[in-house]
């Protein structure tokens, strides 16, 4: 059989397309490494300054970056702030989000489902500064009224606001994960005489666990990285919290609030970038841990 040669332009177009797709694929790596590199580059010199120590940075609660005589760069209180707000947000958002995802995907009728999905997507599109505004005005008054706390901007406020922001993400991605479970599983399960709840609990959740975990993680990611809303809702006080009605400052809020005031290339400026590196590391560790968990589950 004679070999038919394809026209030169077709070969060229295919190669070009391959190249474009290749670039798209590796661009994510380039961007991540690039961001890390530039943030780290600004932060790096401060590590060698005589007035700075890394142990103090990580383990001291004293943050006096603009003091005349007693400069301290300790971010432990802010790590505690980020941690406490995030944990509270997840405690609220994960059950709510997964519950809503299960309801939307498995239990509600088609009409309600469409309505709910549109509203949930709308909820996800609300800008974070609007959430912060709600935290600052509406939520803080409610908290003062119901708990008797001296100030309404605190962990509870930030946690609730972050939870409200994470829920739509958890719901829409969780719902996608449940939708991706083949219908044949549902039919096979129900044909065996299971009730709908047993089906969800014994078949759908195990089958969709990777996707559901991803949904939760993206929720966590949003909560850890969120800046504007927590800046407005948590009270901005640098100290280790003792209860959920204490005001705290998070790592992100600290950067956002102080970067504008810090003179460029001063130690203060560089320490704020180092805080950025720390945040980056936290998200990296969280993602890595989740990845390992998923792999562990898969192996079983």
């Amino acid at each position: 059989m004679p070999k038919r040669n394809r026209p030169a332009w077709a070969i060229f177009a295919e190669k070009a397309l391959e190249g474009v797709i290749y670039l798209c694929g590796i661009s994510a790596i380039v961007f991540v490494l690039g961001i890390f590199f530039f943030v780290f580059k600004v932060a790096l010199p401060v590590l060698f300054e005589p007035g700075f120590s890394l142990t103090q940075f990580l383990f001291s609660t004293e943050w006096y970056p603009t003091s005349e005589s007693n400069i301290r760069y300790g971010v432990l209180a802010m790590i505690a702030g980020t941690f406490s707000v995030t944990v509270l947000a997840m405690v609220i958002a994960v059950p709510f989000g997964l519950g809503a995802a299960i309801f939307v995907s498995e239990f509600c009728g088609p009409k309600l489902k469409e309505t709910l999905k549109i509203i949930i997507e709308l909820l996800a599109a609300i800008p974070s500064v609007v959430w912060g505004f709600i935290g600052l005005t509406v939520m803080s008054k409610l908290i003062v009224e119901f708990t008797g706390a001296p100030v309404g901007v605190n962990i509870l406020n930030g946690g609730i606001i972050l939870a409200l922001m994470s829920v739509p993400i958890i719901v829409s991605i969780g719902e996608d994960a449940l939708k991706a479970v083949p219908d044949s599983y549902r039919e096979a399960g129900l044909a065996l005489g299971t009730t709908h709840w047993q089906l969800v609990y014994r078949v759908l959740l195990p089958a969709a666990k990777n996707g559901l975990l991803a949904a939760v993680l993206l929720g966590v990611g949003r909560a850890v990285g969120e800046t504007m809303a927590v800046l407005m809702a948590t009270g901005h006080a640098v100290h280790i919290p003792e209860g959920i009605l204490d005001s705290v400052r998070t790592l992100t809020a600290n950067i956002a609030a102080e970067l504008g005031e810090a003179p460029e290339n001063s130690n203060h400026y560089r320490v704020l970038f180092l805080t950025g590196v720390l945040l980056f590391t936290i998200t990296f560790v969280v993602n890595l841990a989740a990845d390992l968990v998923i792999r562990g589950i898969r192996k079983k």
Partner: protein, 254 residues
């Protein structure tokens, strides 16, 4: 002699998906402890018929079903306990659907759902069902690995074991041998002959010879209508009532 009431009685069953009717008002009875063969080409409504009996047809939102299907005299469309109905009927689909669980849990799934939790009881049940499905010897050392990792034929036998696990009174087999080698098929066919002492079996198959080997009676379904329903000896003889049956059974059809 007592005339036994039929296990399943179908009267004027019509089923439509949207505007397209796929079953045009069919009526027949299936006796107790009978192997009832359903033969017919693709698209003749065989699988839809099974889905009407255990009401998994409910999952197709555009399906409308009229007429009556009685299982033990109870109308499946009016039953209060559809879960109980489905537990009474074991269903094996043509393409195996291993649930994403271990081999053990696949079989223990249905018993667990009705509250069986004693390990010894489950162990016994799992071994019994897997043995009946001619799979026990191949998997007894790896009951903890995922059911979805078995080969196609093994998965099919796993679904047979699963369908038997809730001790159904009716077993519906929809093209069960499509992914199984002939030797294993024979082993399962022997099991079916054995099971027939206790339960009723509906055997939907494209393999005319399989229906001939196993069934007591056979129904030839074509385009949603019953062409002929009679004892095997008649259907597979040289003189069935319908010329069409003769042609289909002897491979002249189409």
């Amino acid at each position: 002699m007592v005339t036994a009431a039929p296990k399943i009685s179908v009267q004027d069953l019509r089923l439509a998906f949207g505007a397209k009717e796929v079953l045009h008002g069919i009526s027949f009875d299936i006796g107790r402890n009978e192997i009832f063969g359903v033969i017919g080409p693709a698209q003749s409504g065989k699988t839809s018929l099974l889905r009407c009996i255990n009401r998994t047809i409910d999952f197709s939102p555009d399906a409308t079903m009229t007429g009556t299907v009685l299982v033990d005299g109870e109308d499946v469309r009016k039953t209060r306990n559809v879960y109980g109905l489905r537990r009474k009927i074991g269903m094996v689909a043509p393409l195996p659907v291993g649930l994403p669980l271990t081999i053990y849990e696949n079989v223990a799934f249905a018993p667990r759902c009705v509250g069986v939790s004693a390990k010894s009881e489950l162990d016994g049940l799992v071994e019994k069902c897997l043995t009946q499905a001619a799979l026990w010897d191949e998997v007894k050392d790896r009951l903890d690995s995922l059911g979805t990792k078995l080969s196609g034929g093994q998965q099919q036998r796993l679904t047979i074991a699963r369908a038997l696990s809730h001790q159904p009174e009716v077993l519906c087999l929809d093209e069960f041998s499509i992914a199984i080698d002939p030797v294993t098929t024979m082993r399962i066919e022997d099991v079916l002959k054995e099971l027939r002492k206790d339960i009723t079996i509906i055997l939907v198959t494209n393999l005319v010879q399989q229906a001939r080997r196993l069934a007591d009676r056979a129904m030839f379904l074509w385009n949603g209508d019953i062409v002929e329903l009679d004892r095997n000896e008649v259907i597979f003889s040289e003189q069935p009532a319908s010329r069409k049956t003769y042609e289909y059974v002897h491979g002249i059809f189409g």
